[in-house]
Symmetry: C2
Subunit: 443 residues, 2 copies
Amino acid sequence: MHAIDTLITARWIVPVVPTGVVLERHAVAVHNGRILAVLPVTEAETTYTPAQRHDLGEHLLIPGLVNAHGHASMALLRGIADDLALMDWLQNHIWPAEGRWVSPPFIRDGAELAVAEMIRCGTTCFNDMYFYADEVARVASSAGMRGVMGLIVIDFPTAWAQNADDYLHKALTLYEQFKGNPLITAAFAPHAPYTVSDGPLEKVAMYAEELDIPIHMHVHETAFECLQSEERFGMRPLARLDALGLLTPRLLAVHMTQLTDAEIARIAQAGVHVAHCPESNLKLASGFCPVAKLQAAEVNLCLGTDGAASNNDLDMLGELRSAALLAKGVAGDPTAMPAHAALEMATLGGARALGLEREIGSIEPGKAADLAAIDMSALTSQPLYNPVSQLVYATGREQVSDVWVAGKRLLKSGQLTTLDEQAILTRTHAWREKIQAADQQAH
Amino acid sequence: MHAIDTLITARWIVPVVPTGVVLERHAVAVHNGRILAVLPVTEAETTYTPAQRHDLGEHLLIPGLVNAHGHASMALLRGIADDLALMDWLQNHIWPAEGRWVSPPFIRDGAELAVAEMIRCGTTCFNDMYFYADEVARVASSAGMRGVMGLIVIDFPTAWAQNADDYLHKALTLYEQFKGNPLITAAFAPHAPYTVSDGPLEKVAMYAEELDIPIHMHVHETAFECLQSEERFGMRPLARLDALGLLTPRLLAVHMTQLTDAEIARIAQAGVHVAHCPESNLKLASGFCPVAKLQAAEVNLCLGTDGAASNNDLDMLGELRSAALLAKGVAGDPTAMPAHAALEMATLGGARALGLEREIGSIEPGKAADLAAIDMSALTSQPLYNPVSQLVYATGREQVSDVWVAGKRLLKSGQLTTLDEQAILTRTHAWREKIQAADQQAH
């Protein structure tokens, strides 16, 4: 008998690797924050003496969800301006609000609200793109949440930096800061092809190679972006990124609603990853990402909620369902994006895109114990014929009961263990008063 | 001071009529199951002495949601066969399961599961199309739920009836049975243009006129249906229904994913109602209902979940969100289907389509007190700038706290008051064992 930290048992475990497998009445043995073994409960009981044991009952245990694209602190702008045309939304609401409010306290409080919501919805790792990534990293780290911080680069000045060189300089400083933090890694985050010039993009490509980190970027979000690029540069954004040397397995291209077959073939060949954000794409009417075609071309897909200002939640379970449903509608094929493939996209797909596939994304020995448990006993999940199908098509965020990151239990029977929900609500209400008063004054 | 049964106060009330209004700190006065008045809390307190008072706190009170299309008892087949091509799904799974299991006990237990789920998700009225409508009516009635029972008509024999004449005969018998039941009304439910011949359709049109009830029918669900109709009848289904005299304000046409501009103009002129089922249409890859175009043509839209076998839940709040998001994506316009319009579709639109607009669909004096309360204090609904936007884009079914139908509280702080949830689960588990064993044996 081996002494271990924790044994977690569940009615069903979906490890994601191997593909398509549902284990019944199995256990996950966890020691020093890592998965030691996945084995039948009866066998686990004769192998290990756990310091703690969690018997989850009629639950489904999955790898923690990986939110592959978002702007966490924008949670404070959730629903401030809906049902508007994109440019009206950006120019008259989001940008003015950001210009006025983005500051370390806003970033901290917004990130805390977002991290609390993400943990409650089963997310264990988020890929963020916003200002003051150092503040976001501190919030995530102190909550025990895993995160990939975007080292943002844009041509124009913001509260965070003055010009491309300043952004790059700050990016490198942040990268050094995060080194050695077991939960926090970094990715370059040049905002989008239309907001970053060739020079800084070439530097990003060079530094990303040197530091061996991903590049996280909005690409081909709208038809307008592609048209504008043809006018300005004589080519579509992907072609320009290709010319600048950015189409490599480092690139996580977000949205990608505008893709020709040739472009799909090119990104497949280059090993580019695609972050699909179906609810944001629908809400902003950006277009439809051709998910089934990308899967057929073996492009690695991951899933993101985008920011709460264009979603308006950070619920990866809901996003998973939207993605699985929408893929079928867009492909005109009800067999597109079946449940297991959708779950893989929301877990291992994200891990791969973030360069974390040896660390997270599946329930395998040696990986970090990043896990989410979902209670399937609810009336709305019954009768249960197929746990993964039920998870994808009928389960709600309220059924997420427990969440672990690196073996630490961040959600315990629906309660946050590392964050003070009441304090977060109080701070959120205070921001609402200030932000709403200013927004109303402006309109 | 007037003695009344019940006073309900809430932080926000969205009455749906007048359009776009959000009342703060108002109350609804209820007497004899009907809405007496909607007025400021302070005024209510000096006007009424209620026998019961419910102070809802940070809740949003809306008209109960009207689920305009479903097959309640199919809840027992939730998730039995997903990610399959339509004909494989129907011919190899759904139809064999129905052939084997459809019977009064299956219908009763399935309807009870469905009604329990619908009440918990804020639905107060459902429009059903399935066999043994008498059993469904008994379940709904005894649970205190409002329902419109489909008097089903199909050409071929099923457990319920042998041929079109038999279906029609049984329809008229059911109609008589339901008369006088304050919660149950009837609609003719010829299944679809491809399953009902001209003769019975003409009779349905005639009887519906005579009895003054709606006609509830799947129409233009898929491109295949339209092609097949052109081959068999030399015209598309809508043209055939037009020739048969069915395009009138009695017709509630469900799905309608295949529509030319001329067809939209024709149904607008005829006053046909459209039941939009976005999640089912996506999951079965049926096509996209052109919701924004229908709204522009002033066609009355309502919202349905369809059956749990093709959704896989009966959550009208989730459906509302999917509809509002998808409408934008399909129209390529982020201003399509704004939040208030979406809520109207899910409430008053359904009431209109079911001929119940004088009875339900809005919070207005004289209407039945069919209400749903949603707790907006949850972390996932904060910060709250706009209650209706938050309801549509960020609220989950778990936030539905209280539901009243005709003044009777069917959900009390998340607990069902008229249904025994544990007993429903036990029966559902027993069905699962039987159905799964048979489905596995067959494959």
